[in-house]
């Protein structure tokens, strides 16, 4: 029978996985044979081999009964390997474990204390709830054993028992309290842990242990003041683990109780001020101390002390310490926001750190720190950092800046400025809701329209590759183009700028022609062009050329018209030529869309033009009625007296094509507008033919077409409508 060592050597010598599997298989077979023959001599060795095979990841179920047999044997070495195998190969959920209960019970009462130790160890690591219930009395008894090693094992075993069966907590309370006055560090630390867990599990225990607060404070003082002990010394501090555990128990006891909290004020102050913080051990104690101070009942002086410690941690070079400090500060904010504000500068520095987890924590913290007073300076800093930050971080940073700006902006002009900066820097990373909201704000800030469109024009020159910025810019130029050109609403802070109409149209042209512009941007640019073509009469011909020029425009147009893309809205509040624009939406073949609810840009436009609906509707009705009266030809151009009052003269050169479907409208109550305004002749012809053909299918009476699916109803908002399919 091969020795365990030799087997390990053989496995390590294998060059390939297949070789290793072969060796393992051979050994497993040998072990299985030995197990079935009930071979006692080598069972010890076999189990060791089995455990190694298990560690490599191979199945070892056949070894479980071996473990039980070994545990039941008399000698210490067999028991030892048996328990080890048990802990490795089994866990509490397996039924086989129940069979061990009897052996455990016997071993817990064994005369050899090492065997008792083995049993306690196994119990503490893997016992199930039933076993816990069965063996709890034994463990209780062992809490008072003469040997400290057994006492400490029993204490930890009890922790597991009460975690599994919380109802048994009261049995352990009094004996656990006795452990608190131990001198042996091992027993003391395990006793403290047991008490902490008891307090968590049962409120009676918590009340019971509050009486011991003073005793604990004294113990902590003694440990802190004790002389050098080589056994427990770590970095100049005697047993930092004990410090930490005691602080934790004090925290549990002091929470919610003023007397207990008062009791521990002095010692907490002492620990906070006297602990050295140049080594990790000291910092660990300080960290625990700060946590305790933050959780117990209020004591102003202590809190300030704690936050100062955190501030010191923040400037530590060690990343671990800074991470821990940032974590703590996030909790501290709920307790004392003022004090944390003082460390704002350091926290901002942490946002720029090279470690990703520190940056993330710092950013979350900054977000919690923002209030009305510091929002401007904080945002300024964050935006400056945005310019130099790494790509992976930019997304997070942008999102946070946008939410800060949205929540706290004191005035609209500042909001617009900051958003423009963010879009110029990281427009591609900005979510749709953000730039939609920006457009809403811009349109509502009526006195800032001129300023906004000019700033956007400038921004476009500098950072034209940021998609969201381009979209907002294009929209604004479309809406407020004449303000841009005529320098309307100049604010004092602005420099004068001359922009001709051609420049403005150029901008949009560039966007359309750019390969990197996506469908939404192009659609918005087209709409902007439409709007501008009425406002800038001198540009309308070039604009026409633009739109006419096939490949770049009509192809995307046709593509757009095939896509049910709700973001394409041909109309806006400012009418081109004075009548509303509604394009008949025969699905896919017109410039149209299927309306999907809740779509961003559609909803946005609705909001924007809601105010003007009434006026428009009135004008529309008027215009339609007049037109309908004259409509018996195929093509009509709107001229002169067809204009509704108060509307600007339509631009010459624009062809207004009204589809024959309008002829149907007199019999309907709702004005029926299905006309396409287009500047390109070929396109309008094509469209017109289609519309005409559909409007006049052979031998179909007009009446049967009423309410039919093909002709959408007009809406004063000028938005697209879905084809009403029956």
């Amino acid at each position: 029978m091969v020795h365990c060592r030799d087997m390990i050597r053989a496995i390590r010598a294998c060059k390939t996985a297949a070789e290793e599997r072969a060796v393992v298989r051979k050994e497993s077979a040998a072990i299985r044979a030995a197990v079935s023959e009930n071979d006692q001599d080598y069972s010890h060795r076999n189990l060791a081999k089995l455990m190694f095979i298990h560690m490599l990841g191979y199945p070892t179920h056949f070894g479980q009964m071996e473990c039980l047999k070994l545990i039941a044997s008399a000698g210490f070495p067999e028991k030892r390997i048996g328990y080890l195998g048990l802990m490795l190969l089994l866990d509490e959920r397996q039924e086989v474990l129940m069979l061990v209960t009897n052996s455990l019970k016997q071993d817990l009462n064994h005369s050899n204390q090492y065997i008792v130790g083995l049993a306690l160890c196994a119990l503490g690591n893997i016992c199930s709830a039933e076993m816990a219930r069965d063996l709890a009395p034994e463990v209780e008894r062992l809490l008072q054993f003469r040997d400290p090693n057994i006492r400490k094992k029993a204490a930890l075993c009890s922790i597991r028992i009460i975690r599994k069966v919380p109802e048994l907590a009261e049995n352990f309370t009094s004996r656990a309290a006795a452990l608190l006055s131990e001198k042996h560090h091992g027993v003391l630390i395990t006793g403290v842990q047991l008490c902490t867990d008891l307090c968590k599990v049962s409120t009676e225990a918590l009340e019971y242990f509050r009486k011991y607060t003073e005793g604990l404070v004294k113990t902590l003082k003694d440990v802190g003041n004790s002389s050098y002990s080589p056994e427990y010394d770590i970095a100049g501090i005697t047993d930092p683990f004990l410090h930490i555990r005691l602080l934790r128990l004090l925290r549990v006891l002091g929470q919610g109780d003023i007397d207990a909290s008062d009791c521990m004020n002095d010692i907490l102050a002492q620990v906070a001020t006297k602990t050295e913080s140049n080594k990790n051990a000291g910092n660990a104690i300080l960290y625990e101390c700060v946590e305790t101070i933050m959780s117990i009942e209020d004591n102003g002086g202590l809190r300030v002390l704690a936050i100062n410690i955190l501030g010191r941690f923040l400037s530590n070079r060690d990343n671990n310490i800074r991470y821990v400090a940032l974590n703590m500060l996030m909790k501290a904010i709920t307790v004392d926001a003022q004090a944390v504000q003082r460390h704002r500068a350091t926290i901002l520095e942490c946002v720029k750190d090279s470690d990703a987890s520190i940056r993330k924590r710092a950013l979350d913290l900054v977000f919690l720190l923002v209030n009305d007073n510091n929002v401007k300076s904080l945002t300024k800093e964050l935006i400056e950092y945005l310019e130099v930050s790494e790509q992976e971080f930019k997304g997070d940073l942008t999102a946070k800046i946008c939410s800060i700006v949205e929540k706290f902006s004191p005035e609209k002009i500042w909001y617009i400025d900051q958003m423009l900066k963010v879009l110029s820097e990281a427009g591609n990373l900005v979510k749709d809701e953000v730039w939609h909201a920006l457009i809403v704000v811009i349109s509502n800030a009526s006195d800032l329209h001129g300023y906004t469109v000019r700033s956007l024009y400038r921004a476009f020159q500098k950072s034209g590759e940021q998609e969201s910025l381009v979209r907002v810019a294009v929209w604004c130029i479309g809406e407020y183009g004449e303000m841009l050109v005529n320098n309307v609403q100049m604010l004092d802070i602005e420099e004068p700028m001359t922009v001709t109409e051609f420049d403005a149209v150029d901008v949009i042209e560039i966007v359309i022609k750019r390969h990197s512009s996506d469908i939404t941007t192009r659609a918005m640019s087209l709409i902007a062009l439409l709007k501008l073509s009425s406002r800038f009469p001198s540009c309308s011909h070039p604009a026409e050329e633009d739109v006419k020029s096939n490949s770049q425009v009509t192809r995307p147009l046709q593509k757009i018209s095939k896509e049910p893309d709700p973001s394409i809205i041909s109309g806006s509040s400012r009418d081109l030529g004075g009548s509303s624009r509604v394009v008949g939406a025969e699905d896919g073949h017109h410039l149209g869309c299927t309306q999907s609810p809740g779509d961003g840009l559609l909803a946005l436009h609705r909001k924007v033009i809601k105010k003007k609906r009434k006026r428009q509707k009135k004008n529309q009705l008027w215009a339609v009625r007049r037109r309908n009266q004259k409509l018996w030809k195929r093509e009509i151009s709107i001229e002169g007296d067809l204009q509704p009052p108060n509307q600007p003269t339509p631009v010459e050169g624009l062809h207004h094509l009204i589809s024959p479907a309008l002829r149907l409208s007199p019999s309907l109550e709702i004005p029926f507008e299905v006309h396409v305004e287009w500047v390109g002749d070929e396109f309008s012809d094509m469209l017109n033919k289609k519309v005409y053909a559909e409007a006049h299918p052979p031998s179909q009476s007009l009446g049967s077409l009423i309410g039919g699916p093909k002709f959408p109803r007009a809406c004063s908002s000028g938005a697209f409508f879905p084809p009403i399919r029956a």
Partner: protein
Amino acid sequence: MIRFIMLQNRQGKTRLAKYYIPLEESEKHKVEYEVHRLVVNRDPKFTNFVEFRTHKVIYRRYAGLFFSICVDITDNELAYLECIHLFVEILDHFFSNVCELDLVFNFHKVYLILDEFILAGELQETSKKAIVERMGELEKQEL
């Protein structure tokens, strides 16, 4: 509470894995793989704490071995970092200049040491001397 302790080398081989929570075999392998992936790629300048599922893993690299401890979210990370270091010191003392091979060939002893150091997911003894003495006594019992 400690949920598990793991010792892994750079290649991902697990040299020691002690679980204080019940897990299926397949889950254990998955966890080992995930922890290894998390820990092996981290820059040494970064913090020693990583978030792992709903807990956190505190790890430290000693030569070619990664010592990882998975604890609850509310635990004191710096304390567990000290804990790892103490464990390594104990191993070093026991094996006299410990290396990975010692841990491979004497894995049952390593488990014994661990069982004297941590029990039921909590710290059992903080004195290096006490643990090494205890191991000596246990060895004597074996004979």
